[in-house]
């Protein structure tokens, strides 16, 4: 349960108890409470959108995927038994919908403007920018990284996005993708190894280890 950081100290316990959990909201949504489901949508749609953006590389397509994910989740909510976390369940649906969209448009050409690279170029983090030259180098680095990720297989790419970009643990990724944790770990290891080799071939010196 997340405490409300903006509230006064004497009101924190009361507000904290008032915030329903995903499980409570899902339970209420199953019984037809659209408001409860709306709250779930509000909580999770940014992350689903971000996942879809990394999966499909296109902002408009990511919008569509996000919308379809929540529509399908609403229709399948009867089947959600609450044994897993709601976000695991909704992520699984999002991955399925994204992969289905990717496969259906595999033959078509990808858009030349990669939303991931554009976002990296626009984003300006404190201390990250080193002037125009630094921004250009950073954009080149992310372009190469996008190219490397796109060169990965569907399985490795999806696992890498969930674990390394979305920050899911191996256990969570295991629940989302339906593969054993050992397999998830191997996929991440393999994806990172390939990324490093790809980047090194492009002249970027990357280190696998965490800082």
């Amino acid at each position: 349960m997340t405490p409300d950081r903006t509230s006064c100290n004497d009101r924190v316990p009361k507000l904290a108890m008032a915030i329903p959990t995903d499980r409570d909201l899902a339970q209420r949504a199953r019984s037809g409470d659209a408001g409860a489901y709306g709250e779930l949508v509000r909580r999770h749609q940014p992350r689903i959108f971000r996942l879809a953006l990394h999966m499909l590389r296109d902002r408009a397509a990511a919008e569509d995927i996000t919308q379809e994910t929540f529509i399908r989740a609403w229709r399948a909510l009867e089947g959600f038994d609450g044994r897993s976390e709601f976000y695991t369940w909704i992520y699984r649906i999002a991955v399925n919908v994204s992969l289905n969209a990717l496969r259906s448009r595999r033959a078509s050409r990808l858009t030349s403007d990669d939303a991931r690279v554009d976002a990296a170029a626009i984003e300006s983090r404190p201390g990250a920018s080193a002037g125009p030259a630094g921004d250009a180098a950073r954009k080149q680095q992310y372009e190469a990284l996008c190219e490397a990720i796109d060169a990965l297989s569907e399985t490795l790419r999806t696992t890498l996005i969930l674990v390394c970009i979305e920050g899911k643990s191996h256990e969570e990724a295991s629940g989302i993708l339906g593969a054993p944790e050992g397999t998830i770990a191997w996929r991440v290891h393999e994806a990172r190894r390939k990324l490093k080799a790809f980047m090194a071939a492009r002249g970027f010196d990357v280190d696998e280890g965490a800082p």
Binding site: V41, N100, D205
Partner: protein, 463 residues
């Protein structure tokens, strides 16, 4: 400048989204939920909540690699035990494929001539029959010729085992000695691929062969290098026989035919595939040929012909020449022994013979599996290994993948194997099901004990 890959991925920037954009998306979603379903992709509701990327068969092998926990990417949610759990799972020994599948494989290696070269400590005299495929032939005649007095000494030298057991009558020791003499030379063929000639009536010291290790060592002390060679060869043969009999898992029944003694008392190396029955026959006294007595019609029929090769065993194409010393002058009376009569069809059954020796139940009450006949449940695994199934599936998966197009949805099939290793049934929904079933039905694994074994297979279209 070195950049950390994990940092690069974890801090991937996305264009900041205004609150208005998020609210607008929220409203769109909620409005779409309220309206009739339209514009959704062709994904079914079941496929929507199914595991998107389960473990595929070839990953079963690869995921056994142990990844150090230090290489696990740092989660932005703080420390979690997933690294340890992943490492534990990935180092699970059940996921690994063993280099040696079973003792049967080991026995095959042991019987392969190319895998069992003669020990370097034993120098062998290669006979004219030796080919490049043989590991060597011990020419006992040549050895005996080097020491012409060996035969005479063998008649007067006491067996090494005599006197060792005071409570056992000497006659009993003498009676048991020939059985050793029978089993050792015959069983030596499979492991060493060196054909050991039985004792010749004219040259070979009978006692040395009759009591393999002790007599040989005793004789070698007295008679010098030839006896040392002979003792080494016999000891090697005995050890090989013991190893092979232990390894043997499928005994074959050998009819109790007398085995023709070969005239020159020199046998050629046996082919590995047929040495097992010969060893079996030698191990069971009922199947070993007795020395034909003088005047015996059978012995006359099997009279040795000079230059003739040994007769096949029981009509089988066994090339192992198991020769017995012919009756007549020159045969030590100690070697004459009587074989117990065997029940028909049980000859050569080592398990049966062992039970008889210890006084246990025999015959009718024993199941074929208990008596070691055929491939019993003890010889097959409870269920096929993951690696084996993965290998079998990987062999037919390309054909199954060719059944669906690259744009078709993934087909989740289930292959059910029968206990004999073949595919009993394949369930595959969706497009190309019949083609996928036909392709996956060709998979085959080794037999296993359980009635059936199901294995999920994910079939994706080829690009």
């Amino acid at each position: 400048m070195t950049t950390h890959l994990d940092t690069l991925l974890a801090s991937w920037p996305l264009a900041p989204e205004s609150e208005a954009d998020a609210d607008a998306r929220h409203l769109r979603i909620m409005a779409a939920i309220g309206s009739p379903a339209g514009g959704l992709s062709a994904l079914s509701d079941e496929a929507c909540v199914a595991a998107p990327l389960p473990q595929v068969p070839d990953e079963a092998e690869l995921s056994s690699i142990t990844v150090p926990s230090a290489q696990a990417p740092a989660s932005r949610r703080g420390p979690s035990p997933e690294g340890t759990a992943a490492e534990k799972t990935m180092s699970n020994p059940t996921d690994r494929t063993r280099d040696r599948q079973s003792l049967v494989d080991l026995a095959k290696l042991a019987t392969s001539p190319s895998m069992t070269p003669p020990p370097p400590s034993v120098s062998v005299t290669r006979g004219v029959e030796a080919t490049k495929d043989d590991s060597g032939i011990v020419d006992f005649s040549a050895l005996a010729a080097e020491d012409p007095g060996a035969e005479a000494r063998s008649k007067t030298t006491e067996l090494a085992g005599q006197g060792l057991f005071d409570d056992v009558p000497a006659a009993a020791i003498a009676a048991s000695a020939p059985s050793l003499a029978k089993s050792a030379p015959v069983a030596a063929a499979p492991s060493s691929a060196a054909a050991l000639a039985p004792p010749s009536s004219s040259a070979l010291p009978v006692a040395a062969v009759a009591e393999p290790a002790p007599a040989a060592s005793d004789s070698s002390k007295k008679k010098g290098p030839p006896m040392l060679l002979l003792g080494g060869a016999v000891a090697m043969a005995a050890a090989a026989a013991a190893v092979f009999l232990v390894m043997r898992s499928k005994p074959e029944v050998v009819a109790p035919h007398p085995i023709e003694p070969s005239a020159p008392m020199q046998a050629t190396a046996a082919a590995p595939a047929v040495t097992a029955p010969a060893a079996t026959a030698a191990a069971a006294p009922v199947a070993v040929a007795e020395a034909p007595a003088a005047g015996d019609p059978a012995a006359k029929a099997a009279a040795p012909k000079p230059g003739a090769a040994a007769a096949p065993l029981g009509g089988k194409p066994a090339s192992a020449a198991v020769a017995a010393a012919p009756a007549g002058a020159g045969v030590d009376p100690k070697l004459e022994f009587k074989m117990p009569a065997a029940a028909p069809g049980k000859a050569g059954d080592l398990s049966e013979e062992m039970r008889r020796r210890v006084g246990g139940e025999t015959g009718a009450g024993m199941t074929p599996a208990a008596t070691g006949g055929g491939a019993g449940p003890g010889n097959v695994p409870q269920k096929p290994s993951q690696g084996q199934v993965a290998g079998a599936i990987a062999g037919v998966l390309p054909a199954a993948r060719a059944c669906i197009g690259s744009d078709d949805p993934v087909v989740k099939a289930t292959v059910m194997f029968k206990s004999d290793g073949s595919v009993q049934s394949v369930t595959a929904p969706g497009a190309g099901a019949a083609c996928i079933k036909a392709a996956l039905s060709k998979a085959k694994v080794q037999p296993f004990a359980e009635a059936t074994y199901s294995f999920p297979v994910t079939v994706r279209g080829t690009n």
